[in-house]
C-alpha cells in the first residue's frame, strides 16, 4: 500500500522540486534528474540516518559495483546526505536538492560549471533567443560513472560511385 502511493506521487514530487529551481536567480529551467523508476524519494526506505562507515552494501550494489567517480576515496555519503536522505550536500554541509545537483558537481569541476552556466558546455534546446530547456550534468553524465559512453554511429553516406554516378 505504501509503495504504490509514493510512486503515484513521484511526478508531483519532481514538480515540487523543480519549482524553486525555475524561479532562481539564474533562471535555469532543467530537465528532471534521471532517477531509476521508483527509487525517489529515498526517504521512502531511508527514514533515518544510517551507518556512515564506508562498506559493501547489500542494496544499491549495482551502483556501488559500477562506481567509477573518484573511487576508492569516495562513497555514497560524500555526496548523498545521511540526515536528509532526499538531498545531496556540498562540502560545507549545505543541503542541495537533486534538481540542483550542478552545484555539487561544480565544487570540483569549476571550469565545466562556469562553461555550463553560459551555455558553452552542455546542451540546450528550445529558443536561441528565448526560453530554453537546460540539461543537468546528470542528464548526460551518470554521476556514479560519468564518462560519456560510446555510441553506435548512424550509417555512413553512400559513396557517389555506388549511386550510379
Amino acid at each position: 500500500m505504501k509503495f504504490p502511493s509514493w510512486r503515484a506521487l513521484l511526478p508531483l514530487a519532481a514538480a515540487l522540486l523543480a519549482a524553486p529551481l525555475a524561479a532562481s536567480a539564474e533562471d535555469i529551467q532543467a530537465q528532471p534528474p534521471p532517477f531509476t523508476e521508483g527509487i525517489f524519494p529515498c526517504s521512502q526506505c531511508h527514514d533515518k540516518a544510517g551507518d556512515p562507515a564506508p562498506r559493501q552494501l547489500a542494496f544499491h550494489d549495482e551502483i556501488q559495483g559500477g562506481f567509477k567517480h573518484g573511487a576508492p576515496d569516495r562513497w555514497c555519503l560524500e555526496c548523498h546526505d545521511n540526515g536528509k536522505r532526499d538531498f545531496l550536500h556540498l562540502i560545507n554541509g549545505k543541503k542541495v536538492p537533486f534538481t540542483e545537483s550542478y552545484q555539487l558537481c561544480g565544487q570540483c569541476h569549476g571550469d565545466k560549471y562556469r562553461d555550463w552556466k553560459v551555455g558553452v558546455h552542455g546542451k540546450r534546446i528550445g529558443m536561441w533567443n528565448g526560453k530554453k530547456t537546460y540539461f543537468l550534468c546528470v542528464n548526460c553524465h551518470n554521476p556514479h560513472n560519468p564518462r560519456f559512453k560510446a555510441l553506435k554511429p548512424e550509417p555512413p553516406p553512400i559513396p557517389p560511385q555506388e549511386q550510379g554516378r
Binding site: D115, V118, G119, V120, H121, G122, K123, R124, I125, G126, M127, W128, N129, G130, F135, C140, F148, A150, L151, K152, P153, E154, P155, P156, P157, I158, P159, Q163, G164, R165
Partner: protein
Amino acid sequence: MSHRNRLPVIQDAPGEAVGAGTSRRDFLRNAAAGAVLAAVAGCKPEAVVEELQRRHLSELSPERLQSMLGKLEKKWSAKYGKEVTVSAKGPMPGVNFAYGLDLSRCIGCRRCVYACVKENNQSRKNPQIQWIRVLQMDKEHGVALQHATPYYDPEKVPEAGHFYMPVQCQQCRHPPCTKVCPVKATWKEPDGIVVIDYDWCIGCRCCTAACPYGARKFNWAEPNLPAAEMNPVTDYLGNRPRPMGVVEKCTFCLQRTRSGRYPACVEICPVGARKFGNLLDPESEIRQVMDRKRVFVFKEELATEPQFYFFYAT
C-alpha cells in the same frame, strides 16, 4: 561590405503592371511566353505564363510573393497529403547568426546528419543528399583532409586515435559560391545565411565547384522524399521540397532559426558539441564561446571568413 549583401534590383513600372506602358523587357517576356504557350498544349496556360513571367525574388511584390507561396502550399499539400506551409520569413533585424562546433566533444555519431535530413526534406536515396558530412580524422595528423574519411563505420564511436569534424555550409562572409552564380540564384542574406532560390537555380553547378567545403549538393535525379517523412513546416529559401536539377545546402535551418528556434542539428547532438546564436548579442552562446575559447575557421587561408567556428573546449 553592404554591397555584397544586396542584389541589383531592376526597377519596375509602379504597380508591376504588365501591359500598361509595356517596356521592351515586358514585351519580350510576354512574346516568349506566348511562343511557349503555343508549343505547350494541354498545360494550364495561366500557370505557364506566370512561371515564365516570374521575377527574381528580390523584385517580387509582397502580394505576388504571397500568391506564389499560396500556390506552392496548395501543390505540396495535395502531393504529400498533409497541410504544408511555405513561409518566406526574411532575416530578423539586428541578428547575425554564427555557429560553434566543439571538436573536443564531437564523437562522430552522425545523429546531426540524419536530424538534418529529416528536418530539411532532403532526398533520402537515389540521390542520397546530406548537408552535413562528418569527417573522421587522425589525432596524429590533426585537421588534415588527406587523412580524413566520411565513410567510417565501426561498431562504436569514438574510436581511439581519431577525432571527428562535421562539415556543412560555413556561411562565409565572402562566399565564393554566390560570386560564381551566373543567374543570382544564391546570395548572402543580412543575417549571414547564404540562401538559394531553388526555382531560380539553373543547375549549372558552378557554385558546387566553387565551394571549398563541399557543402553544396546537387539533385542529380528527382528527389526521393517519402510523403510520410516530409516535414510540412517549410520556408521558401529553406527546407521546401526541391525539384530535380538544383543545388541545395545547409541554411542554418532558417525555417526554425528565423523564428527563434535552434537548428535541428543543435537539438539532436547527444554531446552538446553544437552551439548557435546571434553574434551581435554579447550574451549569446556563440559569443560566450568566442570570448572564452580559442576558435578557428576551416580553411582560413582562403579568406572566405566563415560564420562557422570550430573550437576545443578542453
